[in-house]
Symmetry: C2
């Protein structure tokens, strides 16, 4: 078979980015973030980097010395551990004590921030749905929920109520957000739709073949906006009910796209 002797997407000048995790084969950042970078005209690739937990602390500081490394994305199980690599943490990373992106700044130092929550906010922005002044109910105060609470708090909602089956966890998250964003009206509370404008699911309930919903309901108010952070399936049982009831819905895949856009902004800000 005759084939071209060069590919057109790589050269010695290409800026290299990586996603660091364990396991790594399931990640989507290589194809999606590379596409976002190249569509903006950057000569850059993001490659998977499978690093074992025992190697992380010795490898990562060395990796950051690679001169043409533009930035890193962190996934399970490294979002908390990666904070130690940053010279400076962004406002949302400081609230949740975790980062999923590290970018080189103009002084060759590394800035860390978490973008899961910003992806959710960006998805709303792209759809033209304001969070400002809204009464928001967030279900789930784990990793994704924490990042979403931190990001939504900066959007000045009328209120943000956080529910988690683990009450201590939701209280602790609400307190951390309030410390960082004193103007925000954030509290831990019961799961209810009374007086709520926006419902955000950040639990894994409804993922893959799970037929359950994060809230017990047979119908939802037509004016409610319903968001689900779950990416697979694209339409979770909660979103399916919301669509049947005429609600506006925002999907996990939109959050993922929003997050990618914000991460690429961050990588190339050179701030």
């Amino acid at each position: 078979m005759e084939s071209p002797d060069q590919v057109d997407y790589l050269s010695g000048k290409t800026r290299v980015f990586g996603i660091v995790g364990d396991p790594i084969e399931q990640v989507r950042s290589p194809e999606m973030i590379t596409a976002e970078m190249t569509s903006r005209g950057h000569d850059a690739v993001l490659v998977p980097m499978h690093v074992l937990p025992a190697d992380f602390d010795a490898f990562l500081p060395q990796l950051l010395r690679m001169r043409n490394l533009g930035g890193l994305v962190f996934t399970i199980p490294y979002k908390a551990r990666a904070c130690a690599l940053a010279s400076e943490l962004g406002p949302q990373a400081r609230i949740v004590n975790a980062i999923n992106a590290l970018a080189r700044d103009a002084q060759d130092r590394w800035r860390g921030e978490i973008f899961d929550g910003q992806g959710c906010v960006e998805a709303f922005r792209r759809r033209g749905i304001a969070l400002r002044g809204k009464r928001v109910m967030l279900v789930g105060a784990g990793g994704a929920g924490s990042a979403i609470a931190a990001a939504v708090a900066f959007e000045a909602p009328a209120s943000l109520t956080i529910f988690d089956a683990d009450v201590a966890r939701s209280r602790s998250l609400a307190a951390a957000v309030m410390r960082a964003v004193p103007d925000a009206r954030v509290s831990a509370g019961a799961l209810t739709l009374d007086g709520i404008d926006v419902l955000l699911n950040a639990t894994p309930v409804g993922m893959l073949d799970d037929p359950r919903m994060p809230i017990e309901a047979h119908a939802l108010p037509r004016g409610l906006v319903v968001f689900d952070a779950i990416v697979k399936p694209e339409c979770t049982p909660l979103l399916a009910l919301a669509e049947r009831c005429g609600c506006t819905t925002v999907r996990g895949r939109e959050m993922m796209r929003g997050q990618i856009a914000r991460m690429v902004d961050f990588f190339f800000a050179r701030g």
Copy 2:
């Protein structure tokens, strides 16, 4: 601008290779080796890795622990230093004390070998020009010349004469090749075309805008095969003269393609 939200040449499963050097922007391996790997059906990329000399010894052993790293290519100034990373050196690497490729074997150890010379031999093989039984004159006993001497010696030429302006260097190379390949008839000697079938240039004379030739001659015997390791320009003053005289010529670019093919064999041998 609307753009596809994924590229098709990367995923979490893609095997990662790197070329390590300083500087790095001029290297061609990313586009050429990636093309060779993908044309053979491998899901793999080779990215540039700009590592400074002060970082090499601490970074490289850590990098080799990355689980999805398939192999590394080494360029200036690391071909000699990289030997220390290999558990096992190939026969040509042992002669020249340098490697330009490191591959993971089935036992997760790292094998090192140098392919500059094998690229030259592969170029001859692809053109159907035997080196076996031929009287070969090699000009230049530096890095490229050493690797070419080591590779040609294994092809059982009738004789291999090595000339270098630095006589001690050509003698030392001839001795090293003889120790490793006792059957080979290798010697350091004067630069002559008398009784020579194949002339190999491994000096930089004739590179870029250099109008000189590595041998003083106004004509070359029509039966001579002339090879030049120089890649830029494709047709050096020596090759231009050889073509005017009706000689068969083999170009540096053919050596580069041959080397890439052999390196990819090596990366995926899993021996």
